[in-house]
Point group: C2
Chain length 347, copies 2
């Protein structure tokens, strides 16, 4: 089943997950291709980005963004081609990036999408990775909140994912020692060989605490938080005085259905923040840093074109496979930036 | 028993407390008055400051400062009078402030103490409160980390203590709505009437969560953390997006002997930091902001002399009563800045 020129396939939220999402939480629907009003574009999706934040939108718990409603199309960033345009700024064939959802076709306000530029013109899915939201997230979180200094030790998990791999590479550009954490020996090897991490530890192997301590003999100055859970537990005792913790995500917690029983470590975290004078700060990339996008785009393009930052993509074929790929993403099954190739034409 | 001109009474750490300190943890000793080397001063203590951070120094758990060793004099800031000087910069009779400990007499390097100035010349104990370390703590923590904006809601506990009362007063100067929290109706009344808080809630009365929510209909933008525990629990759900939490102290936790059993809310705190994009940052005043002391001294003196900031002292008479007063401090028994009047002469 692939993209048609007359039917819009879209994946809607069928029900809210309790714990890990299952296939039942999604439903593929067909409808007519939507039509555009003045100032709008009809877009045909080429690549759909799958990202951990989408798990939050499937729940109606309080969050920074409104949840997807039952029966609504799943939210998501995508690279598309303009099919028809009611805006003088776009013409058919233009390639754009925007938050157009899990569907073959979308109607979007011309103001809400951005033309691809630079390296993304040749390799459009980059606009969903290193040259897009994940790259921007790594760039601002690490540099603005993390403030890494040459010689410091930076730790980041999901080291072969789009955010983690860039955090590590930018930290190397800044002269830091970079320790990655990833799931499995293959990813760890790749983080060192391909992305230039100093070391990468397998969180699935035993004694993560001990191995992380050995890998960070001078402690940890910046921990870029994107997973939480056992990785954070291993990091916490190793944080140096005045360490910075940009909090970007907590993937390990997204499927949790409640708090774990045991000792309440909230006061332990607070006392560690006090005693070590930590700065722990959450951020939502476009809300907090949208005004600094041009600065990111310029610098990252320069690094990318100079070969200083590399990427890896994990491409899944076909919109209908998005739910299963997304379920796997939350389990760490992807290896690189997870992208769904929605269309086979004109890519 | 009072200060002698030939004997130095000093209070040493006799044993480390397990939980709340008791009288047995302290011992009053007598020794000869120490003598000064080149560049040093002999000082006679006039006022000794008692502050919650001293509880940390009694333990040998990891902390930002070395613990007091068993048998060593208890650490503490004090206002003293120069008895004899081996430094050209000081002469007998000068009044100075420095970290000279719980004792009648101390020897200090001339470089390690500071002459009183401004309003503290007339009222020396102010150098231990509004015009000293607690004032500096409130000033930098609130303004540099908290960054209060006019119209925002600021919450602070220990509202009649030296730090909390100044946090509230500075926040009022900045145009904020200020909600205090204190122990007992009398302190709450005082925070509103004397310090100008908009409201002050008694944390000993029932339903703090509910009352705090009613007092903060627009949520909380800055929570100056100096107590932790139940107050933080009430604050957490009310924090607004992009709220700031300077972490100055956790008095409610200082006597804790372990973590509480129950649900582990560490991940709840992390997810709240992410979702609300909070900034939570610890600080140790002189380590982090020592270089900005002149800025504080100038501004606070101006406010003080203009009558814009007020203070309340809780003066205890006699060095020998310092341990009991300190034990009470950790239970919230003081009402205002706790100071021990060590000498009756030349105050």
């Amino acid at each position: 089943m692939s993209q048609s020129q007359s039917v819009n396939r879209r994946i809607v939220l069928a029900s809210r997950p309790h714990g890990a999402p299952t296939a039942d939480n999604f439903r593929l629907e067909k409808q007519d291709i939507p039509t555009a009003q003045a100032g709008q574009l009809v877009l045909r999706t080429l690549f759909l980005s799958l990202d951990p934040y989408m798990r939050g939108r499937m729940s109606d718990a309080p969050s920074y963004a409104a949840p997807v409603q039952i029966g609504e199309v799943m939210t998501g960033g995508a690279v598309s081609q303009v099919v028809s345009s009611n805006s003088p700024e776009f013409k058919p064939g233009d390639r754009v990036v925007g938050s157009t959802g899990w569907q073959d076709y979308a109607v979007a306000d011309a103001k809400a999408v951005k033309k691809l530029e630079g390296a993304a013109l040749k390799h459009p899915s980059l606009a969903l990775g290193v040259l897009g939201m994940p790259g921007f997230t790594a760039f601002m979180g690490l540099l603005d909140i993390g403030q890494p200094q040459a010689g410091e030790t930076v730790v980041v998990a999901a080291a072969t994912g789009p955010v983690g791999s860039l955090v590590g590479q930018i930290a190397k550009i800044k002269g830091c020692k970079v320790i990655g954490i990833a799931g499995g020996a293959e990813k760890c090897h790749y983080a060192v060989e391909h992305f230039g991490f100093d070391q990468c530890l397998d969180h699935r192997a035993a004694d993560l605490d001990k191995r992380l301590k050995e890998a960070c003999p001078d402690g940890i100055d910046v921990y870029f938080e994107n997973v939480g859970g056992a990785v954070f537990d291993a990091v916490l005792p190793l944080l140096n005085t005045k360490a910075r913790i940009p909090v970007c995500g907590l993937v390990s917690q997204y499927n949790a259905t409640g708090l774990q029983e045991g000792q309440d470590r909230l006061s332990l975290l607070a006392s560690t923040i006090l005693r070590k004078r930590l700065r722990m700060q959450g951020f939502i990339i476009f809300d907090d840093y949208g005004h600094r996008y041009p600065e990111f785009a310029k610098q990252m393009s320069e690094w990318f074109e100079a070969g200083k930052v590399k990427f890896r993509e994990d491409i899944v074929d076909g919109l209908e496979n998005a739910p299963q790929a997304f379920i796997g993403l939350l389990e760490g099954k992807n290896f690189g930036k997870l992208v769904v190739k929605v269309s086979h034409e004109n890519n």
